[in-house]
């Protein structure tokens, strides 16, 4: 994981990725009513005693939402943090249901792409066998 060890973030690349999907993602972010009605549709939320941190909207707002709010200017430690959200707390099963029509999985997928572009991703070869691989 040589790339992941580097301390810097290629902000330009992150910005490009965010810009490429800006119209769509900003639209979804701005139309999320923060109503939490999507929570029950996520099996992880149900499996974790309804912990709010597993709500689809919580996961998106605290990963992709922050990336857009900070316009891509984030540190590596932040990407490491959202790695847990977008890979462990969400498995991208695409089953979440939002009454307004916000497409949560698409947003999580973009957050993953941003992390991956900086070499931040779960390394199953090294850590996959461990209980907590993230």
């Amino acid at each position: 994981m040589a790339a992941a060890q580097q301390a810097t973030v290629d902000t330009g690349k992150v910005k490009d990725l965010l810009a490429a999907h800006r119209a769509e993602m900003k639209r979804y972010l701005s139309h999320c009513m923060h109503c939490t009605l999507c929570a029950e549709s996520c099996f992880l939320f149900m499996a974790r005693d309804k912990d709010p941190r597993y709500m689809p909207s919580y996961k998106v707002l605290n990963s992709l939402g922050v990336l857009y709010r900070r316009r891509g200017r984030v540190e590596r430690s932040f990407l490491e943090k959202i790695k847990k959200i977008v890979w462990r707390n969400c498995v991208l099963c695409r089953r979440c249901y939002c009454p307004v029509g916000v497409d949560i999985p698409r947003m999580i997928a973009l957050a993953r792409a941003v992390c991956r572009s900086q070499g931040v991703y779960p390394d199953f070869d090294e850590q996959g066998h461990q209980e907590s691989w993230l």
Binding site: A23, E24, R27, S30, H31, C32, M33, H34, C35, T36, L37, A39, E40, S41, K50, P52, R53, M55, S57, Y58, L61, C93, R94, R95, Y97, P99, V100, G101, V102, D103
Partner: protein, 239 residues
């Protein structure tokens, strides 16, 4: 200032409201590729129904069988999807939000004073309901608004993603109802209250296209035009 709020700003607000909605609609089509909208919610081509066997007599037993088979087919087809929608995961909030949105539109559209003004300004208005009915609708909207606020303040999971902006938008939505009710009942100084009411109404109209209240138009665009498992577009199960 007062003249401005009572006069031109009313027209400006309506113009911003309608132009904003059109703009948002246009942006949606510009920013989604036809591929994304490809599976437009066109109904599937109807399969030719097998010719009805005209000889089957309509006995009670046949009718019963038809009812049972029909409803069980319907159940098997729709229940797996429906049971995950908010109608079944949050029956209470579904009722609250449907009632809220119904009266949110009905109360201002059917209020006597509004239609009186419309008829004066445009020469035409909608029929209006009795004042008492509109009063009741207004109070119901406010009650539902209070439930939304209660959730924001006290329910842990809602608090986890609530920001100041959510309170602001809720306030913008409810303000015309509070002030409209106050004006209709001549609470406080009528002249001031009605001015505040008109200002709040204008603010709300102008806010709709450009805040999260834009869900008013995007709800339909998302649900009808973007394919997804739960939308009316023909999404496919990925699992």
């Amino acid at each position: 200032m007062e003249e401005f709020i009572r006069g031109p700003l009313v027209w400006i607000a309506f113009a911003v409201f309608f132009a904003g909605l059109l703009l948002q609609g246009w942006l949606f089509f510009r920013n989604t590729s036809p591929r994304q909208r490809r599976r437009l919610a066109v109904p599937e081509p109807k399969k030719k129904k097998p010719q009805k066997d005209k000889k089957t007599p309509l006995t009670p037993a046949a009718l019963y069988a038809w009812l049972v088979n029909g409803s069980s087919a319907c159940y098997q087809r729709h229940w797996p999807r429906l049971r995950r929608t908010v109608l079944f995961t949050h029956p209470f909030m579904t009722v609250v939000t449907v009632v809220f949105h119904t009266f949110l539109f009905a109360a201002p559209l059917l209020a006597r004073a509004h239609n009186e003004l419309l008829r004066r300004g445009l020469g035409a208005g909608l029929p209006s309901l009795a004042d008492a009915a509109v009063d009741a609708m207004t109070l119901v909207v406010l009650l539902c608004g209070a439930i939304f606020l209660w959730r924001r303040l006290l329910v842990r999971r809602v608090r986890a993603i609530t920001t100041f902006y959510d309170y602001l938008v809720l306030a913008i939505t409810l303000a015309p109802f509070v002030t409209g009710f106050m004006a209709a009942h001549h609470w406080l100084d009528y002249h001031t209250v009605i001015l505040v009411h008109i200002g709040c109404g204008e603010l709300m109209l102008m806010a709709i296209p450009f805040t999260k209240l834009g869900h008013m138009i995007y709800f339909f665009l998302y649900r009808f035009l973007l394919p997804g498992e739960y939308s009316f577009g023909q999404g496919s199960r990925a699992w």
